[in-house]
């Protein structure tokens, strides 16, 4: 199969060793799959943000919130949805298809926490769930906080007084 799909006039014989074949397949694969991955990430990630915008619009119109105030409850609703989908095992299927499209939105943050919590449940509530929930998300929280601290320091040094 692979030999035929290689196309062109040059036919290689089927006597390729598995190693040769892997190397050969690798030269064919990446460029196409990166583009495809990006398209899928774009569509799924965009769709999640679209859903977020719809929820935000509901908060603005039904609860009469200001757009700035509505983004926090929107994020919370998306996180609840993500936790439910993760619990049902659906989010991981979406993630396999979408790659970064489902990992980059805040739903992916919740997914990483929820799946870590579920996975380590058998080790107990304290050591398993409590200890492992931030296994992936922890790096995001730590680096975000440290970066925010240094940005704050920079604002202090430049004397903006927090205006930005």
């Amino acid at each position: 199969m692979a030999v035929k799909s290689a196309g062109g006039g040059k036919y290689r014989k089927m006597s390729m060793s598995p190693k040769e074949y892997q190397a050969f397949a690798k030269t064919r694969e990446p460029s196409r799959s990166i583009f495809g991955n990006c398209i899928r990430a774009f569509i799924v990630g965009g769709a999640i943000c679209l859903l977020g915008q719809a929820i935000q619009q509901l908060f603005i119109h039904l609860a009469h919130m200001k757009p700035e105030d509505a983004s926090n409850p929107t994020v919370a609703v998306l996180i609840i949805l993500s936790v439910i989908l993760t619990s049902l095992g659906v989010y991981d299927k979406i993630a396999q298809f979408a790659g970064a499209g489902s990992a980059v939105p805040v739903t992916g943050f919740a997914n990483s926490m929820c799946s870590a919590a579920l996975e380590h449940r058998s080790e107990g509530l304290v050591l398993g769930v409590g200890g492992n929930m931030f296994k992936l998300a922890g790096s995001v929280v730590v680096f975000g906080t440290v970066a925010a601290f240094f940005v704050g320091i920079a604002h202090l040094i430049f004397g903006t007084g927090g205006a930005h």
Binding site: Q53, E68, V104, M113, G152
Partner: protein, 116 residues
Amino acid sequence: MIFLWAFLVGGAICVLGQICFDVFKLTPAHTMTLLVVLGAIGDGVGIYDPLIKFAGAGASVPITSFGNALVHGALDEMKKTGWIGIITGIFKVTSAGVSAAIIFSFIAALFVKPKG
């Protein structure tokens, strides 16, 4: 119109993440960390707020907005209470996201058996 921009900007940030995965071969954790730091710096120099105004959820749903919100809390509190606000204010705005994720993940772990 805001829906279109939400889709396009949100999708574009996800493509940025995908490029980190595929082209630079970063792990998901490294990619998320990078995006959060970018979001924090973006708010520090004042370009993230206009982006949120322009793209709505397209900018506030991706993880970059987590970094943005951390800086936001720190700077807002700094405006009110002076330099100590950098420490006391960091988690003020992100509370919704972090607490919701912790609480519901914990509840899920109590009641759900893992699948797959």
